[in-house]
Amino acid sequence: MTIRSNIEKTLDNAEKLNGSLNSFLKIDRDYALRRAEELDNSGAKPGALHGFAVAVKDNICTSFSQTSCGSKILGDYRPQYDATAVSRLIDDGAVIIGKTNMDEFAMGSSNENSAFGNVKNPWDLDRVPGGSSGGSAVAVASGVVRASLGSETGGSVRQPASFCGIAGLKPTYGRISRYGLVAFASSLDQIGIFGQTSRDIASLLGVIAGRDKNDSTTADVAVSDYVSELDNDISGIKIGVPRALFGEGLDDEVRNSVENAIENYRKLGAEIVDVELPNSKYSIAVYYILATAEASSNLARFDGVRYGFRAEDAHELREMYMKTREEGFGAEVKRRIMLGTYVLSSGYYDAYYSKAQKVRTLLKNDFLSAFEKCDAIITPTSPSTAFKIGEKSDDPLSMYLSDIYTASANLAGIPGISIPCGLSSEGLPIGVQLLGPAWSESKLLCLANRFESEFPLSKKPEYFV
């Protein structure tokens, strides 16, 4: 088997399923086949990902393809450079096969905010795949690729991983370079990884993690050999359960399935302890102040001057800015830009933005205290299974609350992984989340790997290659 023939099969699968699932915005057949041929002809094996097909979320810059951010305002924008995560994958021998659909500028939890049509959940086409990295989640869940890149600001990898029945990792803030990841909320954003299993995630993380001089927020912390540490013993690892978060708003089937997962971890030798995260219930409020404030500033650059879409018929500069942004941005992006502008505006800054920064400190301290008692914390990933398309699209606040279990990790800068822990009575996947202290990715992947090996899901989605 040549790499070319493998990649050709992958591309055929992507094209075959895309009509139903809409997970790819662009399938880069010519580029991917050319790259595969180069690898076949070179003879050398640059790294462990030699010939490995990867899909990349369309807010991560690729010089050989488009980067639309799921937005009309960028459209077929073609970056002048590759994101560091992308160039490290390519240098290791991976083949990027295409760019995946997403909520516009990563703002959403359902993929209904894409300017290019929503992604469908391969378990049930009437349901959302989660968001904002829904396309990358579905590319993996439908079996097209074993792994893909997404991005996280408040749960945008873990939540769709949960809805689609796959593994999804949000690393520690500063673990993976954000160079070339189009900024949404810079103090929260991280590139994340989806895998059919945590082994796939480990193999990508080891390649793309680490200090990058082009991102001053990457930390000088040694990168572990995540793959070889996957099979470490988990007996005696302390897993904390924040019981107070298992109450109101949590779907009964999700609660039962997560309780069952906790019991299974106990059987595998982990020690289960109670922990408290008293301020977690405030995480969505803090998140929607800080994330929108940062977004209102970051998205100021989309004004029709240097790249992407420009509105016609504007006679002076300010009019051109306003028309371009009005026509180029979708409703959710405008809503968040306005919310961010409001919380930063004169007279409201202290009441909202400063207040939220202080509560962020309390959230961080909650985790520091909890991790004195345990090595990892277990919670549901999302309060429900995948909801129906259209079910929450008219009620932004209700949509925001689907990130209630995930946003606190972004605010605290800690890593988290979601893995499937069961199927609902309707046959939809349920996800369980493990959170760990900063730089504990290896331990989280190890815990995830052990669970996946012992308790795999009993079936595949309806749409699977």
């Binding site: 930390a219 500069l317 409001y342 207040k355 400190t361």
Partner: protein, 99 residues
């Protein structure tokens, strides 16, 4: 508790360089009021003695040396930098008249 009114939405949109329509004002006003009402639950917490968290960095990230020597390194160059502009002209980004 702040009350969000239609005139607030128009003012915010202007600050954010968004030329929103009357229909959007009608849509966003109750939604924004709803969201702002929700985030005001933070007022339950006493935070006078709490330091604000000003970024996402971990202690290890804070400790990482990020300065570099002040020497010129390669850059995109004018042609490539203008490559994605809607209407580049004579080595510049062209825009409608400013005044």
């Amino acid at each position: 508790m702040a009350m969000i009114k239609e005139e607030d939405i128009r003012k915010i949109a202007k600050l954010a360089h968004l030329e929103i329509t009357d229909e959007e004002v009608a849509l966003y006003t109750p939604q924004m009021a709803d969201i702002v009402g929700y985030v005001e639950q933070l007022n339950e917490l006493a935070t006078d003695s709490v330091e604000p968290a000003t970024g996402g960095l971990t202690p290890e990230g804070e400790a990482t040396e990020t300065k570099r020597r002040d020497v010129i390194e390669g850059s995109l160059g004018q042609q490539l930098a203008l490559d994605q502009a809607p209407t580049p002209s004579h080595g510049h980004f062209r825009v409608p008249k400013v005044l």
